[in-house]
């Protein structure tokens, strides 16, 4: 692993250098929102931002992705092409450590031993992730330390940048990351002092995270309490919109739909949400999850129990998006804390 120092004023230039030869996705300001967008048409990457509104999962698991295309012929509908093998090498710049961790969680689902998801894997393997550590947690709603991460976590990243004050410490963690170093040319090597400073910064950043939830501790309760009066208390004000799931970096449920226009057609995989009644509605009219109470229980159980059972990790990275943007302020931190008190 290479450790180098990047001068603050040089970072934007280095990112643009990458953008000149391949697509670079970076946080940019669009209207009032900070979102990930391709750096094209002279768009400037943001270097100072809290976090993006949208989760970067969109890059590997797009909101709508064409799985295959087909054609109406005289014989009937025929397959035209499989849409894999089209992804290009890209760089994803400026991911917060919580979001980068979400990639590892998504990997465990999409890159299982049996039933690999070729669309996700292809995009993921062709993307180099440059993560930007949080020396100050950007929001008071951040709770990454409660769910297995920390503000300078390198999980899921190929390169991790840490703001040391006067310069960035750049750690090139994977072979993909080291390839970037070749493009960037000579950067001064980091010394032990930089390393020590990072350690201090981490301790400080961790202490600044005031939001703490007993994420791991509630597992036993969840194991035993599928039926419990507590489940009647959280869903009442829920609008059943998909904001929490769409903005969530780890939510990965999807739908598959066919679309046609004249003779051409395609099969699209698109985000779906366990908050929608249609999600589990069967053709027969039967619906195993008829009420919002059941859907909320599903969401919470999936994150804090089922995913833990299946992949040994909580499917939440503590970014706080669902807390901040829920229209009716249903706060997952409060729910988890309330459960721990039962």
């Amino acid at each position: 692993m290479e450790k180098r120092i990047i001068k603050k004023e040089n970072l934007a230039g280095l990112v643009k250098k990458l953008a000149a030869e391949r697509t670079v996705y970076a946080p940019v300001m669009e209207g009032d929102n900070v979102v990930y967008a391709a750096l094209e048409n002279g768009k400037e990457p943001l270097l100072e931002y809290g976090n993006t509104k949208d989760a970067p999962k969109n890059l590997f698991f797009p909101q709508a992705e064409t799985l295959l295309r087909f054609l109406r012929t005289k014989r009937g509908m025929e397959l035209k092409e499989d849409a894999t093998g089209k992804a290009k090498e890209v760089v994803l710049f400026g991911v917060r450590p919580c979001d980068a961790r979400s990639f590892v969680l998504l990997d465990s689902l999409f890159d299982q031993e049996h039933w690999k998801d070729p669309y996700y894997i292809e995009r993921r393997s062709k993307t180099t992730v440059i993560s930007k550590g949080c020396v100050h947690p950007p929001y008071s709603t951040c709770f990454c330390t409660s769910v297995g991460g920390h503000p300078l976590s390198a999980e899921g990243a190929d390169v991790l940048l840490t703001d040391l004050g006067d310069a960035y410490l750049a750690e090139f963690l994977t072979p993909k990351g080291e390839k970037l170093l070749e493009k960037w040319g000579d950067l001064p090597k980091a010394d032990d002092a930089a390393e020590a400073k990072k350690k201090d910064l981490l301790a400080k950043a961790e202490s600044e995270i005031k939001s703490k939830i007993p994420g791991k501790e509630i597992k036993n309760w969840l194991d035993a309490n599928f039926e419990n009066p507590f489940w009647d208390t959280i869903h009442k004000s829920c609008l059943a919109c998909g904001t929490c799931t769409y903005l969530c970096p780890t939510c990965h449920c999807f739908d598959i739909t066919d679309e046609m226009k004249k003779e051409d057609g395609k099969r699209v995989r698109s985000w779906d949400s366990c908050m929608y009644w249609l999600f589990t509605q069967e053709t027969s009219g039967h619906n195993p999850r008829t009420s919002q109470k059941q859907r909320w229980r599903q969401r919470l159980m999936h994150k804090f129990k089922y995913f833990v059972d299946n992949f040994d990790a909580i499917a939440c990275v503590g970014c706080g998006r669902c807390v901040m943007y829920c229209p009716v302020n249903i706060d997952i931190r409060k729910i988890v804390t309330d459960i721990s008190k039962l």
């Binding site: 009937g76 025929e78 998801d117 449920c253 999807f254 779906d272 053709t283 999850r289």
Partner: protein, 280 residues
């Protein structure tokens, strides 16, 4: 890398059989377009596949043919939604797609050397038919003990696989009991609900396993009969149904607790189901 699991295998509809008087249940025989696909499509009774109609979508349907029937797959489908409607409108010779085989299967290894009781209701008899044909296959028959079948439908016209029922009835190595809730003028067989018939036949629980599949209401009333006969929860198997999209445990909708019906199911023993949440 394994085959792209989202990519349907090209097949062609070679035969369509209308099964019931109401004409809303048909059996589709699909033949593989490519020889190598046929060889790679290794399945067991109880598994399902996604029938893929480009432009309409996909529908998960249990495989009704047995792996001992070479050269084709069969699916018995009720007309219900967008995909099945389109399927019913299809003609022989039309190309389509199949994704699979998906899910687990009836516990064949466990059934070996045991007596098997098959209980089916209505058109849920499809994968049971697959199992039955598999066990009755010449080379396989000796591996299993006595086979008892209880199959019921609301009326004689709603029984599926009528030709096979006639064939099976002639066999000596099979105790076939077909029943209808209410017979019609031409019906000479048994009348009565499936649970009642099971009670009358009273198969022994000694070294026996029950495989049951049918409408929830039938299952609910049949299970107590088998408990009374001394069957343990480990020896009763059933198959679950859920809304599915991907069929490979990713899209997140068909879970019962931490198990995905598409990947870890659809076949579960009652003992396994007891450990899961009751949300199906």
């Amino acid at each position: 890398m394994e085959r792209n699991p989202y990519l349907p295998i090209p097949v062609e509809v070679v035969k369509i059989t209308t099964e019931v008087d109401t004409k809303d249940i048909k059996t589709f025989r699909l033949a593989f377009t490519k020889k190598e696909d046929e060889e790679n499509f290794k399945y067991m009774p109880g598994q399902f596949a996604e029938l893929s109609l480009y432009g309409k979508g996909e529908s998960p349907i249990g495989i009704a043919s047995s792996p001992t029937q070479k050269g084709y797959l069969e699916f018995t489908v009720q007309r219900a939604g967008v995909v099945t409607q389109a399927l019913h409108n299809m003609e022989e010779g039309t190309p389509m797609g199949v994704r699979g085989p998906l899910g687990n299967y009836w516990p064949i290894n466990y059934l070996e050397g045991k007596n098997v009781v098959i209980v089916g209701g209505g058109f849920a008899f499809t994968t049971l038919r697959s199992l039955l044909n598999y066990m009755l296959y010449e080379e396989n028959r000796a591996r299993f003990g006595d086979i008892t079948v209880v199959y019921g439908a609301r009326s004689p016209g709603l029984l599926i696989y009528k030709d096979e029922l006639t064939e099976w009835a002639k066999r000596k190595d099979l105790n076939l009991n077909v029943t209808v809730d209410k017979g019609d003028a031409g019906w000479t067989g048994r009348e009565g609900f499936v649970p009642t018939v099971c009670k009358e036949i009273a198969p022994s629980s000694e070294n026996s396993v029950t495989v049951i599949c049918g409408p929830p209401i039938m299952i609910r009333f049949t299970l107590p009969v088998f408990f009374d006969l001394g069957f343990s929860k480990e020896n009763i198997y059933t198959s679950l149904e859920m809304r599915m999209k991907c069929g490979i445990g990713k899209c997140g909708r068909c879970n019962v607790g931490n198990k995905y019906v598409c990947k870890d199911g659809p076949v579960f023993s009652l003992a396994e189901l007891d450990k899961l949440t009751k949300e199906y």
